[in-house]
């Protein structure tokens, strides 16, 4: 699959299977635009304008095929008014080299074997694949047959697949027959060695991150809040210290061999329960040496109760702080009001500025929300920059479509333009020596997440859980208001195993809609909670969110292009 786009003066060619990202000149882009939907052998034949000797024997016929030859001549004719024959041939040779190098028109679907694994209940985690099926031998054989080029490979694959549903004795019989079959000798050396070990990693069911809702209460009453002004449709409550400590114990007990454990103090407003937060951190720290674990804490706050103690403690203990500020005063005070309806901008901005000024370690983000009322959110980002903030995250509002602040289809079109302008601004400010960070444009193409993380997705309901003040467990903080998503509690563990199983099966490979999307390995299937809220189905797709994600990804790549080409 090839995805092409033009943005901020750059031409992009993305080869999805290989993960390659090419920035190309206009001539190369014109050629790829014509060829991007043709199969690899046709592309090779068309591109081989004067290098037939370099073509493998099986492709020589493709080159001499009339329709391919016509396509080649048509392409050259189309380009000839603007480019010399030498230029066109030079471009085609460059593309041919990339294709031979499997960085273009790559047809090796690197995920096919993962799709097979997933189909047979081997479930991806960020650590590898868990085997959810006792018949590991059968699945290994199925993979062999999938990789095998033997003419009867498919027949054996189907026979073995049927064993899984028809019982062990039948399976053993079929396996025995298979092992004696000539096909077996042919697949030796074809199946990667790792499939026997890491891909069938024994399930450890590790939990490595908790969102601790330490306060189901808030000192603001933001009307757009997905948490229902902090109460999550329930009663106001603060998490007792003992519950917090037990949550830490639960995390340690269920973290298997993970070294880094993450705890986010969330709400509601967590500073309403500040002494408990500090004590819980101290308790967790006291376990680090004896357990060999390292806790990473995050605090998400509206800022109202920030004082010197909060600033000093968070600087010392919190790896990350998320500060809620929507941008301009008019924007922020539209929704972020107290119980009397007064805006909170004037209260929180100086506190945030002081906290950021005194923060000497860890990360922080000014995190805003934009709605239908400020689809021109770039102006809010500009305002945040004027206030001196340079680590910024700005998120589209999560809301039912019938709310007055919900984003409309027209907003989406405009927001995509805003994202482009934001990328342009970031490139410009970087050149001027005044860079800033936008969370959604952060991407490390070379050292980013591995294939397991990209397939497993965000980890909600599996390695990431939300804990209520009463110690109940939910798959994530966005679903805490829905009793149907109650998974268990921190004393008894996960008791709703059916729901747990659903989340274990929820991954990129199980979202069929994603299969044809060029951005699938950047977003990993997106947010399950958003999918549920938009479609009523955890396995659904939040199409509006997808559209915005794809745009953000293109913008992030444009910034990468600017860094690579312009220094």
């Amino acid at each position: 699959m090839i995805h092409t786009f033009q943005l901020l003066g750059y031409n992009f060619v993305l080869d999805i299977c290989s993960g390659s990202v090419h920035i190309v000149d206009d001539l190369v882009y014109a050629i790829i635009e014509r060829l991007k939907d043709v199969p690899r052998d046709v592309a090779l034949a068309v591109l081989s304008v004067n290098s037939s000797s370099a073509l493998p024997e099986n492709l020589s016929s493709a080159k001499n095929n009339d329709s391919n030859s016509d396509m080649r001549h048509e392409l050259i004719d189309t380009l000839s008014p603007r480019y010399t024959k030498e230029d066109v041939e030079d471009a085609m040779n460059a593309l041919l080299a990339l294709t031979y190098d499997d960085k273009l028109f790559c047809e090796k679907d690197p995920f096919e074997k993962w799709r097979v694994l997933n189909q047979h209940r081997n479930l991806p985690t960020s650590k590898g694949f868990e085997c959810d099926n006792k018949d590991r031998n059968i699945q290994t054989k199925i993979l062999e047959c999938t990789s095998c080029d033997h003419e009867n490979g498919d027949v054996w694959k189907e026979r073995l697949k049927s064993c899984i549903s028809t019982g062990t004795s039948n399976a053993n019989k079929t396996l025995k027959a298979y092992d004696g079959y000539v096909c077996n000798s042919k697949v030796e050396g074809v199946v990667p060695e790792n499939l026997g070990d890491c891909s069938f990693k024994k399930a450890d069911g590790a939990v490595k991150a908790l969102c601790l809702n330490v306060a189901h209460a808030c000192n603001l009453a933001c009307s757009y809040c997905f948490a229902g002004q902090g109460k999550y449709k329930g009663a106001q409550a603060l998490m007792p210290l003992e519950t917090g400590k037990r949550a830490i114990d639960f995390l340690v007990e269920h973290s298997a061999d993970r070294h880094y454990l993450e705890v986010d103090f969330f709400g509601g407003e967590p500073l309403l329960n500040w002494p408990m937060v500090k004590e819980t951190v101290a308790y967790a720290r006291s376990l680090e040496n004896k357990t060999g674990k390292r806790f990473r804490f995050t605090l998400t706050t509206n800022g109202i109760l920030i004082d010197d103690d909060v600033i000093d403690f968070t600087n010392r203990e919190m790896d990350n702080i998320v500060l809620s500020l929507d941008g301009r005063k008019s924007t922020h005070d539209r929704f972020r009001v107290d119980r009397q309806g007064s805006g909170s901008y004037d209260t929180v901005v100086p506190k945030f500025q002081e906290l950021v000024r005194r923060r000497t370690q860890g990360t922080h983000y000014i995190r805003g929300t934009f709605t239908h009322a400020n689809a021109d959110f770039l102006n809010d980002i500009l305002h945040l920059l004027e206030l001196g903030f340079t680590q910024i995250s700005m998120e589209p509002v999560v809301s039912p479509p019938d709310m007055p602040y919900a984003l409309t289809p027209d907003d989406i079109v405009f927001i995509k333009q805003q994202y482009e302008e934001l990328a342009r601004l970031m490139i410009q400010r970087r050149k001027e020596g005044r860079p800033f960070t936008f969370y959604h444009y952060m991407t490390d193409l070379e050292h980013g997440p591995c294939i397991y993380k990209r397939i497993a997705g965000c980890g909600s309901g599996t390695e990431y859980l939300a804990v209520t003040p009463t110690g109940d467990l939910y798959p994530c903080h966005q679903l805490v208001d829905n009793p149907a998503f109650l998974m268990g509690n921190i004393w008894d563990g996960i008791t709703n195993t059916a729901l747990q199983n659903t989340y274990r099966h929820l991954n990129l490979l199980s979202r069929k809609t994603c299969r044809d999307c060029w951005a699938q390995l950047y977003c990993s299937g997106g947010c399950a909670a958003n999918a549920f809220h938009t479609t009523g189905d955890l396995f659904g797709i939040d199409e509006k969110g997808c559209e915005l994600f794809r745009k953000r990804m293109e913008c992030a790549l444009a910034i990468k292009a600017a860094e690579a080409l312009d220094g």
Binding site: H22, K113, G128, P192, E395, H440, Y452, C458, Y464, C476
Partner: protein, 48 residues
């Protein structure tokens, strides 16, 4: 005069090579960072 290359290929992670190793499972959970309402994993750093 600076010559603009016809094709510049950005360095990207070799996802095929990933399949030769275990994942470590240590990378940050998406919603522990800054989003809280829109998952995406590509902005998470690899811990290995």
């Amino acid at each position: 005069m600076k010559t603009t290359p016809r094709i510049v290929t950005l360095k990207t992670r070799d996802l095929i090579d990933d399949t030769q190793h275990d994942g470590c499972g240590e990378c940050q959970t998406s919603c522990q960072s800054a989003c809280k309402t829109s998952s995406g994993v590509v902005n998470q750093a690899c811990e290995q």
